[in-house]
Amino acid sequence: MTITTGKITMTLSKLLTTTAAATMMALPAFAMDVTIAQTSAVNTLDPHGSASVGLDLSVLSHIYPTLILRAPDYSLQPSLATDWEAVDDNTWKFTLTEGATFANGEPLDAETVAWNIARVTDAENPKRISSWFSQIDGVNVISPTEFEITTSSPYPALPAQLSMFMLLPPEWASEHDPVTETMSGFKYQMTEYVPGDHITLSPNPDFWGEAAQFDSVTFRVIPETASRVAALMAGEVDLINKVPASEIARIEESPNATAGAVDSTRSVFIKFNTEKAPLDNKAFRQALNYAVDKELIADALFDGLATVSNCQVMTPDYFGYNPDLEAYPYDPERARELLEESGVDLSQTIEFELPAATYLQGEEVTQAVAQMFGDVGVKTEIQTMEFGAYLDKYRAAHDLGRLSLLGQAWATIDADGLLTLFKPGNQYSYWNDEAFDEQLVAGIATTDPEEREAAYKKATEIMCEEAPVVFLYAQPATFGASTRVTYEGRGDDWLRAFDMSPAD
């Protein structure tokens, strides 16, 4: 009996949303096509097969629903889930939108969510994003619209992590290959896919939420920066990102486009391999921090659009950010004193690894920093390498050069995550500080925000003093948008049509 009622409600609400969508689509104000330029081609269409937010996941987030959406201001907004709460330290409860379905009619209910979580936590068949959910113990379905996720230890960042987790239709996925095909459950559906060139999306007429704003959205691949800027100014594309800071003023002058930058959540720094001499020497590490004129880099290379880090790798948007720290001042004299104190042999040349074409103006920053190191008497040799090769050294081989340029962000925008990359024992750390470790352990022992903040405050103080990196700046998230749309920019990597709206 209950089941019948459920079915009727579902059909009714589906009818209602369809009518609503049809009415919306009839409005002429929405008749508009937009094109978004991406720097490289999509690797996979499986939303569980990629952790690349700026690339694969951005495109797929138009097609597949998430429980929660992160707004451009980083707040977590309801999407398929209308409500969520921590029941206790190890349990999160979610409530879902009623009557939501995929375009093929499969229901978007608690069972579907449970199936998707089971898909990525299947130890036999791990997916690219499985590590996000290693703490998940199980999913407890209460009703079609309610379920609980239990975790093995407190996981305060779970809702944030779920904002990157998209849902596939289970039945469809058993008959189709999600790597090469898609089935819409969100605002858009894929109408054309030319691998390596472009993907075209059109509105999903059966969408259960607020309808799509554009008649079509095309993601075009334009790897070359100068070509992306030219395409924007010629009116061929409506949205680009990763624009060099000095090009922003030039785009602004054009009648077709505007450009801007916001602080991103990605912090750029010079990573030290403190497991190798002389970077095991604290005075030497501090000396290098004093040797770099961070302000000059931010002002001259980034036109003042980059914000100098205040002695931590987190940006103000992170949970656990410490507002009380201050950056190492630019003081070459102090640097020389500390170098002398450290007793390090300065006749040696230290390798300085640079992942090519990875970070905004990374080549320029590296050369500027190397020159500043040279000015205080530290000789370096830049070694450019493919990002993949760098990652192999960093992760698989655990054989990072003594210096390297690195930019890191953590999508949950939480100290638990970004600071974990420096935790002793972590493959990415290259810095083994016990006092720091203790604070990180304290930071995830509870979901109480105040206790957690206190732990991260101490952790960041230790990190500032011990200087396992040269703290540089928060990489500006630069963008250019055509005057046909309004776009405010966002500092995480998401590149989405539904963050834009047609200009009046």
């Binding site: 920066t225 100068a226 800027v229 030039r250 001259a300 290379l301 500027a368 020159q371 830049i382 450019t384």
Partner: protein, 285 residues
């Protein structure tokens, strides 16, 4: 020598190429004596400054502008030419020595050695040279030595083919036959009698190879596989400047011009040199 210059002055293209090449080589050799700004040090505050002719001889002038980290482009061009010419000429000479020796060996000995060497050449010709260069440099790691080695590797085959063809006809000539008749050893014949007679074609191949190798060197460093920053190289300057192509044209235009002019001068001079040494075209004049 006078005959050489006289003949050269009659060919406008050859003369143009020769003079240009002499100027480029002279600039490269004299670079340390010229009062140029340090090519590896930049002033971030003066980045992407346009070319200016005002106060040309004052210390802070950048007649061809500055690059993306504020280094003087003129100074980087001239110092970069040292690197380019050094790498290219070493590779061409190295490839020339190997190719000539193997070419003489294949041509004079014939038989199994000839077949083996020529099949090796065939195999290598079947692989795109750029792909081969990329693979080798990626495997060995980017360094000047590796770039020279890989460029020499792509270069020896042309010498080997042409020298072998020359030797095939030379070994039937009377002076070789008579040397063999009086009992000269094979090595003596190859290197005292044949070698001097193939040096001219080797020289002509060398100049033409030089042009090709300069372009390939620029391509490798454009892809980040050549010399490492901040050491100046033309290809690298192109690669780093292309982001600013539309707002700071001077960052790519001048290195591009430098490559074009150098290759053009080498090609023009090389063409003339081939005609000069070729008895057929000479007697036709």
């Amino acid at each position: 020598m006078t005959h050489f210059l006289k003949d050269l002055s009659r060919s406008r293209a050859g003369l143009f190429g020769f003079v240009l090449l002499v100027v480029i080589v002279a600039l490269a050799l004299l670079a340390p004596l010229l009062d140029l700004p340090d090519p590896t040090r930049g002033d971030l505050r003066a980045r992407l400054a346009g070319p200016t002719w005002q106060g040309l001889f004052s210390p802070g002038a950048h007649p061809l502008g500055t690059d993306e980290v504020g280094r003087d482009i003129l100074s980087r061009l001239i110092h970069g030419s040292r690197m380019t010419l050094m790498v290219a000429s070493t590779a061409v000479v190295l490839g020339g020595i190997v190719g000539t020796v193997l070419g003489i060996l294949a041509g004079y000995k014939g038989g199994f050695i000839d077949r083996l060497l020529m099949r090796l050449v065939d195999i290598q010709l079947a692989i795109p040279l750029m792909l081969l260069a990329l693979l080798v440099v990626a495997a060995l790691g980017p360094s000047i030595r590796n770039v020279v080695l890989v460029l020499a590797l792509t270069s020896w085959i042309r010498y080997a083919r042409i020298i072998r063809a020359q030797v095939l006809s030379l070994r039937e000539r009377e002076f070789v036959q008579s040397a063999r008749a009086i009992g000269a050893s094979t090595a003596r014949i190859m290197f005292l009698h044949i070698l001097p007679n193939v040096l001219t074609p080797a020289l002509v191949v060398g100049t033409l190879e030089l042009a090709r190798v300069i372009i390939m060197d620029a391509a490798l460093s454009f892809l980040g596989l050549g010399v490492q920053p901040p050491t100046p190289s033309w290809g690298r300057m192109l690669a780093d400047g292309r982001v600013y192509l539309s707002s700071a044209w001077w960052t790519v235009t001048f290195p591009g011009l430098a490559i074009v002019l150098t290759v053009l001068s080498v090609n023009l001079f090389g063409d003339w040199l081939r005609d000069y040494f070729d008895p057929k075209t000479r007697s036709a004049k």
